[in-house]
């Protein structure tokens, strides 16, 4: 979980693109996935995601993302399969349930859309530094700095809280709390020993963070404060045009 959103350093073509370009590219691929009705097209988009991942040097991460998303969408697949009743029945099941061809199609479509639509965003975060993304959103998209800062801080705290959580689980396991129980009722009882320490620490860390930001001039910042510049180059324009065409293609196919 930790490694998924973390920046993977590199110097590939995609790494060097403007952060805004990367954001728009991933959004356009995402949109293309949700617009199109063609299974083939969406599968092609998934393949495209993997190709982009490979050319940025994060192919393995791309594959793991794919696997993770596939596992995650299993439940949705099953639900969709069982809930859609129109079309021809393929398999009859007890409890008056049936698997139809329309159901199969829409289940596969949903899962593929989910995968093809989520992958670009996750991959984009892997090849874009949080700070660069935040700076560009503040400078070019006029997003208020406070919101961008809150967002990047939240992302930055994820591994920190994950570590705390791991430490809490260790501490509670050591005193005999059965963290790996399969009993549902016992699992519910686990929430308290996990959440209370986490909340207390989180609140303290966040307050400390706020104080630290404040005394380093947080309130003095404006949209123009940023030192780094993010010029748009020819590469960026080419990628954006291609992405737009792809989205357009989605309408037609």
């Amino acid at each position: 979980m930790k490694g998924f959103l973390e920046y993977a350093p590199g110097n590939s073509f995609f790494h060097r693109l403007n952060p805004l370009t990367k954001l728009l590219l991933s959004l356009l691929i995402s949109i293309a996935a949700f617009i199109s009705d063609s299974l083939l097209f969406i599968v092609a988009l998934v393949a495209l995601n993997l190709v982009l991942a490979a050319s940025s040097g994060i192919f393995i991460r791309g594959v793991m993302l794919l696997k993770g998303l596939a596992k995650f969408s299993m439940l949705i697949f099953i639900l969709q399969l069982l809930l859609v009743r129109r079309g021809n029945v393929l398999v009859l099941l007890p409890l008056n349930l049936a698997i139809t061809d329309a159901g199969l199609f829409s289940a596969v479509l949903i899962v593929l859309r989910l995968i093809a639509g989520t992958m670009p965003l996750a991959l984009m975060l892997s090849i874009t530094q949080m700070n660069d993304l935040s700076n560009v959103l503040v400078m070019k998209c006029k997003v208020p700095y406070k919101y961008a800062f809150a967002f990047t801080t939240a992302i930055r705290f994820i591994p920190i809280f994950a570590d705390e959580m791991a430490g809490i689980i260790e501490a509670q396991t050591s005193r005999g709390v059965e963290m790996d129980t399969r009993n549902i009722f016992k699992k519910v009882g686990l929430i308290l020993p996990l959440c209370v320490p986490l909340l207390i620490t989180s609140v303290k860390k966040i307050e400390d963070s706020a104080i630290s930001a404040e005394i380093r001039g947080f309130h003095l910042r404006s949209a123009k404060s940023c030192y780094k510049r993010y010029p748009l180059k020819l590469d960026d324009l080419l990628v954006l045009v291609t992405a737009a065409l792809l989205a357009g293609l989605a309408f037609l196919v």
Binding site: G167, I168, E170, Q172, R175, G176, L192, V196, P197
Partner: protein, 277 residues
């Protein structure tokens, strides 16, 4: 009591503990020392089953940690973490200790009895809110919770972190008393003065390997071993090592003072200085 045979543990392709074997008998007070990243904390977690060895066996009182559930091990091995805040989850001191006991005991009257005993021993106010206590008090509370389970073995990971001197002494003195009652204590510590004052035996780790195992005073005299582990011995020992011959058995302030006094040239001996208030 505690037996490690050829224990190896690897985390994320980096071997953190390599081929470690040792035996700790009942009632011992052992310190594990070594530089940062040497594997001390990993070793301590291997002792109570939070981490299972990749190869080799860790057996505590005959129980193999790989084959025994951590919750069972928790009845016999108490673990005090560096940060008490990762454990504390209830609103009152009594509830916190009771929670720990409920994980391993079913008998309500026994739980209450142990709770009362431990609160009396530590002198807590049972209704106090743990989150309003100082760091030292919270560390004592975590220790109390661990002790209430009446474990035979106590493992401590840097118990003095973040504590001021008197809090540190309070906790260490309680631990010493528990050791005198027969509880085996294994302590990871990077404060050599504390190690010298409390531990009778020392295990020295360097880059995941056990490079020395012996009586505290003996180990602190082995300069080469300590250098390999990037450890500075306690101040008086450093001084004794530098002064060389005649100071081989000097470890405490009193020993050093007497030794120096015996060798001081007469012209430096004058009237006794008395410290005014």
């Amino acid at each position: 009591m505690i037996d490690l045979k050829n224990v190896c543990f690897t985390y994320q392709k980096e071997s953190t503990v390599k081929d470690i074997s040792f035996h700790i008998g009942k009632g011992e007070f052992v310190a594990i020392i070594g530089s940062n990243g040497a594997g001390k904390t990993t070793l301590s977690k291997l002792l109570n089953g939070i981490l299972k060895p990749c190869s080799g066996t860790v057996s505590i009182m005959g129980m193999d940690t790989k084959k025994t559930k951590t919750s069972i091990l928790a009845r016999h091995i108490g673990f005090l973490f560096q940060n008490p805040d990762r454990q504390i989850c209830k609103n009152t001191v009594a509830d916190e200790i009771r929670f720990g006991l409920e994980q391993i005991l079913k008998d309500k009257s026994l739980i209450q009895q142990r709770l009362d005993n431990v609160i009396a021993y530590f002198g807590f106010d049972p209704a106090a809110n743990p989150f309003r206590l100082s760091r030292g008090e919270r560390q004592k509370l975590a220790l109390a919770s661990v002790i209430a389970a009446e474990p035979e073995v106590l493992v401590l990971d840097e118990p003095t972190t973040g504590l001021d001197y008197s809090e540190c002494m309070q906790i260490m003195n309680i631990i010493r008393q528990l050791n005198e009652k027969g509880i085996t204590v294994v302590m990871v510590c990077h404060d050599m003065e504390v190690v010298l004052d409390f531990a009778r035996r020392v295990l020295v780790l360097s880059e995941g390997r056990l490079i020395a195992d012996g009586e505290t005073r003996e180990i602190f005299r082995q300069e080469e071993v300590l250098r390999r582990a990037s450890i500075l011995p306690p101040q008086i020992t450093q001084l004794a090592l530098r002064l060389g011959e005649g100071f081989e058995q000097v470890f405490t302030v009193e020993e050093m003072a007497r030794n120096l006094l015996a060798r001081t040239r007469p012209q430096y001996i004058g009237t006794v200085r008395r410290e005014t208030a």
